[in-house]
């Protein structure tokens, strides 16, 4: 794909140079710190042991996946598309020897990298915090579970980010896309609770599907079905997003 490598490196540099990445890192550290303070307070105040060292990252993940991670994925996706269109900088990328598919793929791949890097960062800090405050309960199988959980969480969050990318290419205003994304996120979670029979089809209700991966009796059929649903949603959202991006007049 001509020009893809250049577009990919450029998107990475633009992402790294923005303050959003620092904000995401700081908020991620705060999330881990608040979690650790709560766990320590309960332990010392009530004498209850809430979590062990390798269980702590899973507690952090359950909160992080539903709050900071999708929020920053929305910010980055909007910035990459609506932000560049509104600041007129999209044209300086598009008027280069690179196909629109190359530019779109480079942006989406960077969005995926951002989500993966954010998860990896939080996992490392949460693991370190767990080891420092509860060193006695560390185990290799616990670490494997943590890694597996964080890796599995990437996929539904990425598919949700693809939905935001699609919205970014439908609506011109970044603020409108932001609010619509939040509404969709809340709506999906609400539908997932009220119509629980259909929740498997919503990517937001798969944000905690890592529990399937680490349960003692893994339901292979259910995991396989969820993978296929995520994959199908991902392909459809990517294709629809690209279709609109390709037809856009700058």
């Amino acid at each position: 794909m001509a020009g893809f490598k250049a577009a990919f490196v450029n998107e990475s540099i633009k992402l790294l140079k923005k303050k959003k990445i620092i904000a995401a890192a700081v908020l991620s550290i705060f999330a881990v710190l608040i979690g650790q303070i709560a766990v320590t307070a309960i332990k010392h105040g009530f004498g209850l042991r809430v979590v062990g060292s390798t269980e702590f990252p899973l507690v952090v993940l359950s909160g992080f996946t539903y709050t900071i991670l999708p929020l920053f994925a929305i910010f980055v996706a909007i910035d990459m598309f609506n932000g560049e269109f509104s600041s007129n900088t999209m044209k300086i990328t598009l008027a280069r020897p690179v196909s629109r598919f190359g530019v779109f793929s480079a942006k989406v791949l960077n969005l995926a990298l951002f989500i993966a890097a954010n998860l990896l960062f939080v996992m490392i800090i949460a693991l370190l915090a767990g080891f420092i405050f509860n060193p006695s309960s560390a185990s290799l199988s616990g670490i494997v579970s943590v890694v597996l959980s964080y890796a599995a969480t990437f996929f539904p969050v990425f598919v949700f980010a693809l939905l935001v990318v699609l919205l970014s290419n439908i609506i011109r205003g970044g603020l409108a896309v932001f609010f619509l994304s939040i509404m969709v996120y809340i709506g999906f979670n609400f539908i997932g609770i009220v119509f629980s029979n259909y929740s498997s089809f919503l990517m937001t209700s798969m944000f905690d599907w890592y529990t399937l991966w680490i349960s003692e009796t893994a339901n292979v059929f259910k995991i396989f079905r969820q993978i296929l649903i995520l994959f199908g949603c991902g392909i459809m959202l990517f294709t629809a997003g690209y279709y609109l991006f390709d037809r856009k007049d700058v």
Binding site: A2, G3, K5, A6, A7, V9, N10, I13, K14, K17, K18, S87, N88, T89, K91, I92, L94, A95, R96, P97, V98, S99, R100, R247, D249, V250
Partner: protein, 241 residues
């Protein structure tokens, strides 16, 4: 190998408000400095956006050095540098970092060439300043540096003198002349008719979304006292009161 730098066939794009451009047929030969003149809203920028693939035409095609912009975009844009509508840059990056981003699309462009372009446009001393602090003229100069970075065979410049001071305008005119002597083809739109007269070798007048006439500058100046008189005459002839 074709000697046509740009070949526009039956190009059309009409907006919902009825403005735009239609039935645009034009050939720009290699080595031409083509001036694209027309009043506000005549369709100049729309045509240039379609020529650079930023806008999809309703119908028609543009070929750049034989490669179709709609079917073979990457090859068509390989030898093109452009400024469309406004010279933009990433405000959170320095002038040097901005040019480094663009350089990645062209295999032969290194730091030396980046410095050379900054030198040509008088931006070398601001190399490490973020472009959000730049004035309109400085942004324009950076835009020109980005356009000439890959030593393109064709430069499409929409209002290249926008925001430039007198010194900048003179520098720009000299640069266009020098690059044209080296074989670069230019497609320039400008409101500064005197500057077009001094720079361009061929003129196309667009009015009401149609290309009304194309003529060599020397022929125009044989029949009219200035390009301005020719332009006014063409616009009047095509219905402007």
């Amino acid at each position: 190998m074709t000697n046509k730098a740009i070949e526009i066939t039956d190009l059309a794009k009409v907006y919902t408000n009825g403005r735009g451009i239609s039935d645009l047929n034009l050939v720009v030969d290699q080595g031409d400095i083509f001036g694209f003149l027309g009043p506000n809203g005549a369709g100049k920028t729309t045509a240039m956006k379609m020529m650079t693939g930023l806008m999809k035409p309703d119908r028609g095609d543009v070929k750049i050095f034989g490669a179709s912009i709609t079917e073979d975009y990457v090859n068509a844009m390989k030898h093109v540098g452009c400024i469309i509508e406004t010279a933009e840059s990433y405000p959170y990056l320095t002038a040097n970092e901005n040019l480094k981003l663009f350089a990645r699309y062209y295999p032969g462009v290194d730091q030396r060439r980046i410095d050379e372009c900054l030198q040509i446009t008088g931006m070398l001393k601001y190399k490490n300043e973020k472009s959000k602090k730049f004035s309109l003229g400085m942004k324009q100069r950076l835009g020109v540096a980005a356009a000439i970075l890959s030593k393109p065979k064709l430069l499409i410049l929409d209002e290249p003198l926008n925001g430039l001071d007198v010194e900048g305008m003179l520098d720009m005119r000299k640069m266009i002349k020098r690059l044209a002597e080296e074989g670069t083809t230019f497609f320039i739109s400008s409101h500064l008719i005197h500057d077009v007269e001094l720079t361009c070798t061929r003129i196309g007048v667009v009015y009401g979304g149609k290309l009304v006439n194309v003529e060599y500058t020397r022929n125009i100046l044989t029949n009219y006292s200035s390009l301005e008189n020719y332009f006014v005459s063409e616009v009047d002839r095509n219905g402007r009161v």
